[in-house]
């Protein structure tokens, strides 16, 4: 089943094959879960978002107008659910709990604590960005997508994505520069 194209799997799923849809879930669950995590959601929230996204996608497969680009359509559903969850204040504090758990299990707690502190501040700077800039930043710097691919996923022009990235760079530079100076002076 995993050797079939997205189009073939979507068409089989539309005809009622749960196995075909299961193959699509397997194909895309890891990158989408990573995206939700990078957008700042705790593991439990990211899991709930993805579960909702896949179930919605299955129920509305008829709205996927181009099955060859199922991945982009599924990404949009996931990104919209991330946006909705963020607007409802999905618990970003969970990241703090996860960091504490990492510290508790790390053999070098001092170094781990410094890294944890840095990550919290970087995450906070990222969270301060407007949603469209944060999405472009996550896709470019964390997921490794190019501008054109981000434009397709975000339904924006490449010029708009470049502008979002440039604005995000300016905000992040201002927020992260003091952190960088601290690291250098340490």
């Amino acid at each position: 089943m995993q050797t079939l194209s997205d189009r073939e799997l979507v068409e089989r799923a539309r005809s009622g094959s749960h196995d075909a849809f299961g193959a699509l879930v397997e194909r895309y669950q890891d990158p989408l879960f990573r995206y939700a995590r990078h957008m700042g959601f705790a593991e439990a929230d990211a899991r709930d978002i993805l579960q909702d996204a896949f179930i919605r996608a299955f129920r509305h497969l008829d709205r996927c107008s181009d099955p060859d680009r199922f991945d982009g359509w599924l990404f949009k559903i996931t990104a919209n659910l991330c946006r909705t969850a963020a607007s409802k204040g999905a618990n970003r504090d969970e990241h703090g709990l996860e960091e504490v758990m990492l510290l508790e299990t790390n053999p070098d707690p001092e170094t781990a604590a410094e890294a944890s502190s840095r990550r919290r501040r970087i995450r906070a700077a990222l969270a301060e960005l407007p949603e469209d800039q944060r999405q472009a930043t996550v896709l470019f710097y964390l997921e490794g997508y190019g501008v054109k691919e981000i434009a397709e996923r975000a339904e924006a022009s490449p010029s708009a994505i470049k502008m979002r990235l440039k604005r995000a760079r300016e905000s992040l530079k201002a927020a992260l520069r003091p952190l960088e100076d601290e690291v250098r002076s340490a």
């Binding site: 005809s15 990573r34 299955f58 359509w73 559903i77 890294a115 840095r118 990550r119 520069r177």
Partner: protein, 211 residues
């Protein structure tokens, strides 16, 4: 940022030049950002239970046979069928299926569904202004979001497109599709609603015609 640096940065973001070809100051900034953001990068995998939970929910509430059959008829397939013919076939199948035993689960399992008189569709006029468009179509939930939809006719090259469509009574979401790709809500309708799939739909309320 001066113009030249801005152009170099854009070229870098576009992937046209490598990091090393950025001016020194920009290169340092970019390294700083990449290193910092890289600390958040996680090579995580979705929880093992996710797929099971999704598949269990899907199995609990499978897609309706009616929807699957309508899709089979109206969605693009290798055979050549005109949109009008597809729509007519779909309408015919819907009419036939309405006469069959219900395929959807009911709250009162095992009991036959009560006979419900289906109200007559109400002819509704849709108008959309799209100067320069080569085709405009209408789609909505009452046609299962068929992307080929219902074609509008342009009034003598005016950019004003219109069609009269029988719509079943009830509250419906709909959208116009310009040149086959661009989904647009109806600016003449009220505030559009987010469909949860990245698009904004217009809402239409159709009252049943008086007998």
């Amino acid at each position: 940022m001066n113009r030249m640096n801005d152009e170099r940065l854009e070229a870098y973001l576009e992937g046209e030049i490598p990091l090393e070809e950025l001016p020194a100051a920009l290169r340092d900034e970019e390294r700083m950002l990449s290193d910092a953001l890289g600390m958040l990068r996680e090579d995580v995998r979705a929880p093992a239970a996710l797929k099971g939970a999704v598949m269990a929910e899907i199995a609990r509430r499978p897609r309706s046979r009616l929807r699957a059959l309508v899709e089979w008829l109206v969605l693009p397939r290798p055979i050549s069928v005109s949109p009008a013919m597809g729509g007519a076939l779909a309408a015919a199948v819907v009419a036939v299926l309405l006469l069959l035993p219900a395929g959807e689960p009911t709250d009162r399992a095992g009991e036959p569904a009560a006979a419900v008189a289906t109200p007559d569709p109400v002819v509704t006029r849709f108008v959309f202004v799209a100067p320069g468009a080569s085709q405009v179509s209408l789609t909505g939930d009452w046609v299962d979001w068929d992307p080929d939809g219902i074609s509008l006719t342009e009034l003598r090259g005016s950019g004003v497109w219109t069609v009269d469509v029988p719509v079943p009574p009830g509250v419906h979401e709909y959208s116009f599709v310009v040149d086959g790709t661009e989904w647009r809500p109806d600016p003449l309708a009220g505030e559009p609603v987010d469909d949860g799939f990245g698009r904004a739909n217009s809402v239409l309320m159709v009252a049943a015609a008086e007998a």
